[in-house]
Symmetry: C2
């Protein structure tokens, strides 16, 4: 079986108010060296599939169709054996 570890972030050009809120909160806690915070989603999808190429293609398709919004989000993923 293969597990896809998918990271989804808003595109750089899209405002990230949640990230800004976290950034301010960290500053308020005394962390003055925080330059930037971006907040996104993380998904782990386990597939009953052993072929790396097939899994790669499928995860990409699932991201495009359901898991991410390609207008405002970017995603990257890695596949690991489980």
């Amino acid at each position: 079986m293969l597990k896809a570890q998918i990271k989804v972030l808003l595109k750089q050009s899209v405002l990230d108010p949640q990230g800004q809120a976290v950034e301010k909160a960290l500053g308020a806690l005394g962390y003055n060296n925080v330059e930037k915070v971006r907040v996104g989603k993380y998904l782990e999808v386990t597939l009953a599939e052993n072929d790396l190429d097939a899994a790669n293609k499928q995860v990409q398709e699932m991201c495009e169709r359901l898991l991410t919004n390609s207008v405002i989000e970017d995603y990257t993923f890695t596949l690991v054996e489980v």
Copy 2:
């Protein structure tokens, strides 16, 4: 500068209804080989800090204090140069 890439997931023992919803939705789209889906948070925190050990300690502390809820969530992070 160093960027922390932080992945946060609910602990295995905690119910993940969002993950279950995504799992069902993928099934409904015809992906019958999806075994399990977990949904969590992904954060990128950029620090004006070049010392790897100091950054490591700081990110861990920020995770414990603000970014994650250690009662129900697990986190892992990696530091990359930016």
